[in-house]
């Protein structure tokens, strides 16, 4: 599908409609719901960045929180220690994530299949350990306090998150559609290489893009929270949530990943009255979707459209 076709497609108009409706929410819903959706939108970017790497470079990254955490903590520490401006910290956080993406890409270019997945998981555990060990700098298990925030206005925070997610979605979706090279190198690297494409270059590009958006979103998220902690941006459980969101929404669709993330966060909140069973219910639903609708929400919708 070319870019011009995309603007004529139904998907584009539906997406545009949803974004316009979403942008009016601060006018009539409570700050509580806005706060919930703000977090959900940042999570949406995590999931889309993951999906780009999985669906279009064929790499299963079990440690999305390595990229997210590096971005979040770099931004947080710079602000906490040196008091640099919020925007500079966010930018440097994203850059640190890109470096982390390179580090993660090195083994990925050498090993395949489960081995790469394992490396990424180990990367998260290492990061987690270092945060705990260098507690003076990172705040350790208690978490890092971040003195500055972007704004304290719930509506403004919401619009920033929505705008960020929309722009990210446009860029990531555009990338996933235009050069088919990425898809090709993910699904059949040998053949794509035989056709003369430089697989290494394209895979590295996928890592860098995925890392950039993960780190940027992580940095924005901690400046929204005003704190960075292992439990919110680094823990393996957070990474699992990102992966589940992408698979739930429909892998290889990019936009579905954002839907999945928003669903997970909102569902988790709605189930809060059920107390400790909330996570159980969300996991059960996710497992059932994976078993019975492996293409996820958007995958199922798209295949129905293709058939009709």
């Amino acid at each position: 599908m070319s870019v011009a076709d995309f603007f004529k497609s139904r998907l584009f108009w539906i997406a545009l409609g949803i974004v316009i409706i979403a942008s009016t929410l601060p006018l009539y819903v409570s700050g509580y719901i806005l706060g919930l959706l703000t977090v959900a939108y940042y999570f949406g970017v995590f999931a889309m960045a993951w999906d780009l790497l999985f669906g279009f470079a064929g790499e299963v990254n079990f440690g999305p929180t390595f990229l997210i955490g590096v971005g979040a903590y770099t931004a947080g520490i710079l602000n906490n220690q040196y008091g640099w401006s919020v925007y500079l910290c966010i930018f440097l956080g994203a850059m640190a994530s890109v470096v982390a993406g390179f580090v993660l890409a090195l083994p990925a270019l050498r090993v395949r299949g489960p081995y790469f997945g394992l490396t990424t998981l180990v990367a998260v555990l290492m990061l987690q350990n270092f945060i705990v060990v260098f507690a003076d700098l990172t705040g350790g298990e208690i978490g890092l306090t971040i003195p500055d925030v972007i704004t304290i206005d719930a509506g403004a925070n919401y619009w920033i998150a929505l705008g960020f997610m929309t722009i990210s979605a446009a860029i990531l979706y555009g990338l996933s559609q235009s050069p088919l090279v990425l898809q090709a190198s993910g699904q059949d690297p040998v053949q794509a290489g035989a056709l003369g494409f430089n697989i290494v270059k394209h895979k590295l590009a996928a890592f860098v893009v995925s890392a950039f958006f993960s780190g940027l979103s992580g940095a924005l998220l901690v400046f929204y929270f005003g704190t960075a902690s292992v439990g919110t941006v680094v823990d393996v459980a957070v990474g699992v949530q990102v992966i589940v969101a992408a698979v739930l929404g429909g892998r290889r669709t990019v936009l579905g990943a954002a839907l999945g993330a928003i669903f997970l966060i909102v569902a988790g909140e709605f189930l809060r009255p059920t107390g400790e069973l909330a996570t159980f219910i969300v996991s059960t639903v996710a497992l059932l979707v994976i078993l019975f609708f492996p293409n996820g929400f958007l995958g199922a919708a798209l295949s129905r459209e293709a058939r009709s």
Partner: protein
């Protein structure tokens, strides 16, 4: 004195790690499945043993047996409710089954963990040990339970070795790990071999879980670290290589004990992770793994 202490404690921990990781690596070797609900199944075994002893007031042996049985049931449930449907699904492309099995078992593990937390709270639980008391080994006071743990681990691993190498079923399992298609050509049902492997896995994870519950105690928070440690041991040893993961278990066990005694218990897991990263870069297939 300290050296002997490290030697003894390290051995017990390593043996326990070895037992926990053996079943995990066996499943991967035979059916290519990485079971991420591993930690949850181990904790389930320990909690079941604890609940049987403290709520139903059965004796410690019966409690341990109930724990192992719970792990066995959970292992079968993992296979029949999660792994097999994914493997047989026609809607999931073959090259993506791996990620689906990983995600599926991970979610399944979270479900078990949350149910444990819901019914038995997040508090740490220590299973009453089968043997109690302390013995003096050349001046090192060692709980008898620790020796018992090490002995049972070695015994079970020994029995597994005998089974795999000396019995017909064991040989079929071994053959399936080498060449699944060849096994089916010989007229053996691959599914029934998988069932046997999952049964072995359930028993091993169950014994390891109950022993862990007696030795160190468990809580639903131990689920993640347990899966991660089995994971890293298995990667270090080479995915699917049982002897590799035995060696790796001892390397990791002793590294952790040395760090805990000589540097600080807070840094316990770091050297092993560093080693793992180095191995992944230099020799990604692990110590004894095949590529």
């Amino acid at each position: 004195m300290l050296a002997l202490q490290i030697l003894i404690d390290g051995f017990a921990i390593s043996a326990l790690y070895a037992l926990g990781a053996t079943g995990f690596t066996l499943i991967f070797g035979v059916s290519g499945v990485l079971n991420l609900s591993h930690g949850a199944i181990m904790v389930l075994a320990a909690v079941a043993a604890w609940a049987a002893a403290s709520l139903l007031h059965v004796n410690t042996y019966a409690g341990a047996l109930i724990g192992v049985a719970a792990a066995l049931v959970a292992a079968f449930a993992t296979y029949f409710a999660v792994v097999q449907p994914i493997q047989k699904s026609t809607r999931i492309p073959n090259e993506e089954k791996e990620i689906f099995v990983l995600t599926g078992t991970l979610l399944w593990g979270i479900m078990i963990q949350e149910l444990i937390a819901y019914f038995f709270t997040n508090n740490a639980k220590t299973v009453l040990p089968i043997v109690e008391g302390v013995v003096d080994i050349l001046g090192v006071r060692t709980p008898q339970n620790e020796i018992f743990t090490a002995l049972v681990c070695c015994l079970v691993i020994g029995l597994l070795w005998l089974m795999v190498n000396r019995t017909r079923t064991g040989k079929a399992v071994l053959a399936a790990s080498m060449n699944p298609r060849g096994v089916t050509l010989l007229g053996l049902e691959l599914t029934s071999i998988y069932v046997v492997v999952w049964a072995i896995y359930g028993i091993l994870a169950g014994i390891a879980g109950v022993l862990l519950g007696m030795f160190l105690g468990v809580s639903s928070y131990s689920v993640g670290p347990l899966t991660a440690s089995a994971f890293s041991i298995v990667v270090l040893g080479g995915l699917g290589s049982v002897s590799g993961s035995l060696i790796a278990a001892f390397v990791v066990g002793y590294l952790e004990t040395l760090t805990a005694y000589l540097i600080s218990p807070a840094y316990r897991t770091i050297p092993a992770l560093l080693l793992l990263v180095i191995v992944m870069y230099i020799r990604p297939q692990g110590l004894l793994g095949r590529r």
